[in-house]
Symmetry: C2
């Protein structure tokens, strides 16, 4: 379902270059639960952004469901994203002027769900993400770090996407809440969703079926 072939991503900084990814290749089959680990700055978020169609590789190819995303324009990328991918961002990327509930409803608006259906579904997603219903009306600035993280999780699940990409989804959670989130992701995987989770938490091994280790923009180990 996801094929990464010699993906290179280079950033230009003035006269120098940052080689964030130096030629990464791997495959993810439908229904897999892949963990991506590696030290800070090793290229994990960069890799996830390529798979999530938020960025294009400098060289190499990324195929999502057989479609070469490097060949798409911005509209094409947006369509692929909206229909296939739920993304939990490392820094949440919530809209600060909207409530938690409205943030979760946003992807549903694009799917043209009516307001009653959206609200009901968004409340259910927040509950799945282990966030108490009383927080639905809080804006992100009125929530703790871990509560914001849970809103980001609920939003990623809003349209029931077949592929879920999670960038350090438990970084701001205590171990009990974090475990609840891992159980939720594991559950979604058992129901057939493909999961790619970037994390620093070694406990991911209890849930994933494959692990890739990145170091300085390269795959240094792959465990099945």
């Amino acid at each position: 379902i996801v094929e990464v072939n010699n993906a290179v991503r280079t950033y230009r900084m003035g006269s120098s270059k940052v080689h964030a990814l130096k030629g990464v290749s791997f495959e993810v089959r439908e229904g897999d639960f892949l963990a991506i680990m590696g030290s800070s700055g090793s290229g994990k978020s960069t890799m996830l952004n390529l798979i999530g169609c938020l960025d294009k590789p400098t060289k190499g190819t990324i195929h999502i469901n057989g479609v070469n995303i490097a060949k798409l324009n911005d509209d094409g990328l947006t369509d692929i994203r909206r229909d296939n991918i739920g993304f939990i961002f490392q820094q949440f990327n919530l809209i600060p002027t909207l409530t938690a509930l409205e943030n979760v409803e946003i992807p549903m608006i694009f799917k043209r769900l009516g307001p009653q259906k959206r609200r009901k579904k968004a409340l259910k997603m927040l509950e799945l993400a282990q966030l108490g219903r009383e927080y639905a009306t809080h804006k992100p600035g009125e929530l703790s770090g871990g509560q914001q993280q849970r809103v980001a999780i609920a939003r990623a699940l809003a349209n029931d996407p077949p592929i879920i990409l999670a960038d350090e989804p438990t970084g701001n959670l205590d171990s009990k809440t974090g475990k609840g989130v891992m159980e939720l992701l594991s559950d979604l995987n058992r129901k057939g969703k493909t999961l790619i989770v970037v994390t620093h938490d070694p406990k991911i091994i209890e849930y994933s079926n494959t692990t890739i280790y990145l170091q300085d923009g390269e795959v240094v180990d792959e465990i099945d």
Copy 2:
């Protein structure tokens, strides 16, 4: 050096109230290394913001070096903060339009350090925070999550403050880099700095000399 006496912090949300802190009391002696733990939403960041003079309690008192901060106006709070406290924020709060180096230099400008001295000291702080020198010219949006976190750490140390408050300082770091940060904090503590660290990482116990557990805005356990 820090005295918290029946600190209450209530937020108003429309017609309802959020009781973030319900009467918290504890003391921190100079040179202590206090860890504050507790589940997501339990009030840790709220508590740290009160101690860091970024917020005032709804009831109760906070004394920093014998000064009752509830009695200060905004200028008074700012002075106490600038002279005494280095704060590592849970969400970094870096200035997006400035480079990593400039972000670290900002507190030094208020101390009227000249540009050459500032630059030299800022580079040293980034090095202490384990961030490679090549990243000094990156803006926050050009840094990984864990690299931004390290810039936030370097900035908190910029003026060599006697009190360091850290809100989940290793949340975005792999275990090796995170351990390096913990060793740095421990080292500063050995040199006489007072440390208060909010964290979900149970390994903090290896470094702290006191631990407070918060649950629903109250202290439920204190271990010395």
